[in-house]
């Protein structure tokens, strides 16, 4: 019988610990499929964040290194410079990347580090119990904004894809979502393109992925998908923000 479906080799057999409807597992899979299809698993080193995906090293079937909260881009930079023929990806949440790790991500992009950043934007700090992040939407209720985020107090949600695309060093910056099959396919294509940009040595690449945290949003998995469409996409437009072509 012809095999039509299999688990990517780039994922281990470990059962993941993510909540039902969480986007982390799905995004792991998309990355792993890209690694398989590009046949780069044995050349890939991933950097884990601190956040709900802190245990990602148990799930990816490649070398993984744990970074301190927010410091993944600095770690990836060092490995990539030492071993330029390897593929380096960081896997970071919005707290990790846009809050405590803001300096590292901006500078890695400005320096044009030839690494790929998978940025999982679920609008809050999932792991610590759903506190407000720089990406939390205005009016959104979190455990540290019990009546909703207010611009007067907490400022405005940060648009990381737009921000980083203004850096010369950024070669590929794209924002996608994983709330429906079409967007999931687009996300996979974006991840692959980011890896290809890295392969060609064009510079820094990042895919920001609008993701669900049903647990801390207080929604069931289906409603969480709808919440992405209704609330996140209008503020965080999808699409490619920077595509540097080969010279």
């Amino acid at each position: 019988m012809k095999k039509v479906f299999q688990k990517p080799e780039s994922l281990t057999d470990a059962k993941n610990h993510y909540c039902p409807g969480c986007s982390h597992g799905l995004i792991h899979r998309l990355i792993a499929e890209c690694m398989d299809e590009m046949n780069i698993r044995e050349k890939t080193i991933g950097i884990c964040p601190v956040g709900c995906s802190v245990l990602a090293y148990d799930y990816f079937n490649c070398d993984m290194l744990e970074a301190a909260h927010g410091r993944a881009p600095a770690i990836a930079t060092a490995i990539k410079r030492l071993l330029p023929d390897r593929f380096l990806f960081t896997y970071q949440g919005d707290g990790d990347l846009a809050s405590i790790g803001m300096a590292e991500i901006v500078h890695a992009s400005a320096r044009g580090e030839k690494i790929t950043v998978i940025f999982v934007n679920n609008t809050l700090y999932g792991m610590t119990g759903g506190q407000m992040a720089p990406t939390t939407l205005l009016g959104q209720v979190t455990t540290t904004s019990p009546y909703g985020r207010k611009a007067e107090n907490e400022g405005y949600p940060m648009k990381m894809a737009e921000l980083l695309s203004s850096n010369e060093g950024s070669a590929y910056i794209c924002r996608t979502a994983v709330n429906n099959p079409a967007n999931i396919n687009r996300t996979k294509r974006a991840i692959k393109k980011a890896f290809q940009v890295q392969e060609k040595g064009l510079g820094f690449s990042m895919v920001e992925i609008l993701s669900a945290c049903p647990t801390n949003w207080g929604l069931n998995p289906l409603d969480a998908m709808k919440w992405i469409e209704d609330n996140m996409v209008p503020y965080y437009p999808l699409g490619e923000f920077k595509v540097k072509e080969e010279q």
């Binding site: 744990e66 455990t143 904004s145 019990p146």
Partner: protein
Amino acid sequence: MSNRLSGNEAVAYAMKQMNPDVMGAFPITPSTEIPEYFAQYVADGEVNTEYVTVESEHSSMSVCIAAQAAGARTVSATSSCGLALMYELLYVAASCRLPITLACVNRALSGPININNDHSDSMGARDTGWVQIYAENNQEAYDNFLMAMPIGETPSVRLPVMTCMDGFITSHAVENIELLETDAVRKFIGEYNPENYLLKKENPLAVGPYDVSAYYMEHKVQEAEAMKAAKARILEVAAEFEKISGRSYGLFEEYRMEDAELALVLIGSSAGTAKAAVDKLREDGVKAGLVKIRVFRPFPGKELAQALANTRAVAVMDKSEGFSANGGPLFAETRSALYDLKERPYLIDIVYGLGGRDVKTEDIEKVFGRLADIAVTGEIGPVYTHMGQRSKEDIA
């Protein structure tokens, strides 16, 4: 008034009663609930606090420093790597003599990354110039936090105060505790009227300026003197606190130490376990006792030496590995304190409970067993060992 609260909620509630002017907030397990509870108080208008959600602990401590320099009362809460990320600013807060109050919910430091309890975070910060007070249980966590401001804000002290409780064991366990009435708390902590602060137009001020070699050392001596002065002030505040609460506190607690021959010295929630072990041994006729250190900075060296003077063998139990190759930090302090005694007890160090490794009454009894042997034979054996680990032979 009696209430069932977790350690975190108890501290958050203390903060609410104190109504600080500013809180610098950034979440980290297991202290996260403190800023969460407090966010609700702010949102419900129960406090007048400016609640600043920042992007890291480096910034939350910076917020506290700046606000305190401007004459405000400030608080924050953190754990583990969060405290480590504050490290640079901890020194700045202390040397600028800003009496910030910080709740440290003790958690192991990376790496390896671990969210459970030990004392490596606050022990790493023991020489930053902060007063450090440790709690055994929820009641003490609440009480210590209430006492922190009157200690730190006294003109002779003017130092930041870190109150510590054990992550999860204390921070998340729910216990019945006695709360003070808010009016009594407000009266107890009084108004904060610092002599100097930013934006006082008659007296423009630079806070934290560059200090040249000709002055730096004098400033450090002043800071050291302030830490010495804190000891008396801590006892004064405890006496005032006893008047309104009926609960009495010292620099440390002596448990069944009157005639103790064998004793433990330790910090934090393990004291509860150790007390149970002491009681059990006492029933068997063993003269066991316990000293639970409450105040680690300033270190009560003289007083501790007195408390241990008549014992025959003492085990210091360190809930952090100091990597000095010479025992943990509590051991170093205790051994140094005993040096001036004419006749010293035998002394060993046992590092235990790292990264949440459990300690049971039987473990503590084993330690007393070793002390009994030492007292009889005079043979100490290895001075510094690790308890409850599997990689080497376990010698209590």
